[in-house]
């Protein structure tokens, strides 16, 4: 009811931005990311073709 009475009966100088909502979403996203990180590990890299990497020796072997 209040919404109907107030809507559109004046012009605002600056556009209203829903700042709180955007901030809330970003906090929620960040929290979700943190929870996901805590479900897994922090020291895992899984993409190598070898179980060991030994600097330049490994690079040379990988290229062959």
């Amino acid at each position: 009811m209040a919404e109907e009475l107030l809507r559109g009966n004046f012009e605002v100088k600056n556009p209203v931005r829903d700042k709180m909502k955007a901030e809330e979403v970003s906090v929620r996203k960040e929290l979700k990311k943190r929870v996901l990180a805590s479900l897994g590990g922090s020291m895992v890299y899984m993409e190598r073709n070898s179980l060991i990497w030994d600097g330049e020796h490994s690079d040379a072997r990988d290229d062959s």
Binding site: L36, L39, G40, G41, S42, V44, I52
Partner: protein, 345 residues
């Protein structure tokens, strides 16, 4: 994929969560990892490349003892000790003291986790009271249930035991280990060999692994995120033992363990925004040898997935001698510990 008992729709939801778990979450821990690596520089005298060759009997087979709940439940350590098994014994930090208590002296002990106050307890912590205050890690984690009731008195006994036998074991220590743990290993006269964990892609510019390698030149090992998996990588790729028996590699919980006591229970509630869909975060398996039921949560499933992914690169044979848990895969036959010992003696 094992004997999943949940409906397919549930599995898809479950796997969605697992797929979102980041494999590289270095933002939080990156600084700590590098700091420990730099602090440990002064103690790097030997690397895993300096390990002496194993004698032929030890090279033939190895048993890796991880600290999963089956290790205690199946009395695995005592059975290994009583069998007079002559192959290589590799243990994770969390199962080391249990071995000493059973009179079993491991050949190798691996440690990986960089946590600054917790890890030192595995070898007896001089600052036990200070580190135990406001930290329920050992009471919540299920790996070594004995540590749930860890007391100051028990900690003192561990210090004495480790001081007495430490010099008989080679410690395979990640460069990211906290200084207090390194101090204890030195104090107990472990023979220390160092390595770097592969924490990101070393071929990428700005790679943390490459930075660590640049300062210490240590070989880098894949870990799959757990010290047990790192122990298998070590046995397979460094020691190259022909046959490897896995003990205490549960990657899950027994069915009678309440989900409230799983390691990421509260995190999962937070992630889901409530308890309504919580049961869909757990998948049940039937262990083929005993027909007992076990279940896994997204975290253990993720670690298990990492292990199986790394296992594609295996050059030696592995057998699951855990006698329970969720590591069920055609490439890793489930056999009893007694059978493994019998066929490798």
């Amino acid at each position: 994929m094992g004997n999943i008992l949940m409906p397919e729709t549930t599995v898809n939801k479950f796997e969605n969560i697992v797929a979102q778990i980041p494999t590289i979450g270095l933002k939080v821990h990156g600084e700590r990892i590098l700091e420990h690596t730099l602090l440990n520089l002064e103690d790097l005298s030997k690397t895993i490349k300096d390990l002496p060759a194993l004698d032929p009997v030890k090279a033939r087979s190895a048993i890796i003892i991880s600290a999963g709940p089956s290790t205690g439940r199946r009395n695995s350590v005592r059975r290994i000790k009583e069998s007079k098994y002559r192959g290589t014994i590799i243990v994770t930090d969390g199962s080391y003291v249990a071995c000493l208590k059973a009179g079993l002296i491991p050949d190798f002990m691996l440690t990986l986790d960089p946590h600054p106050t917790r890890m030192v307890r595995w070898v007896g912590d001089h600052d036990f009271e200070k580190h135990a205050a406001n930290d329920d890690y050992f009471t919540r984690q299920d790996l070594n249930i004995e540590f749930r009731k860890n007391s100051a008195q028990q900690n003192k006994e561990h210090i004495a035991l480790v001081d007495q036998y430490g010099h008989l074991t080679k410690a395979i220590v990640a460069s990211t280990a906290p200084r207090n743990l390194v101090g204890r290993l030195k104090e107990a006269r472990f023979d220390i060999y160092w390595w770097n964990p592969l924490v990101d892609d070393p071929s990428k510019p700005g790679s943390l692994t490459r930075k660590m390698y640049a300062v210490n030149k240590l070989p880098c090992l894949n870990t799959g995120g757990t010290v047990g998996t790192a122990a298998w990588v070590f046995a397979n790729a460094v020691l190259k033992t022909h046959r490897i028996g896995l003990v205490g590699m549960d990657f899950g919980y027994r069915r009678d363990n309440p989900i409230e006591k799983t390691q990421t229970y509260y995190e999962l509630i937070e992630y889901l925004g409530g308890k309504e869909e919580l049961e869909e975060c757990f998948i049940e398996y039937e262990f083929p040898l005993t027909k007992e039921k076990f279940y896994t949560d997204p975290t253990y499933f993720w670690y298990r997935k990492n292990f199986l992914e790394l296992f594609k690169q295996a050059t030696t044979k592995a057998y699951n001698c855990t006698e329970g848990g969720t590591l069920i895969d055609d490439r890793i036959p489930c056999i009893t510990l007694d059978d493994f010992i019998r066929t490798n003696s």
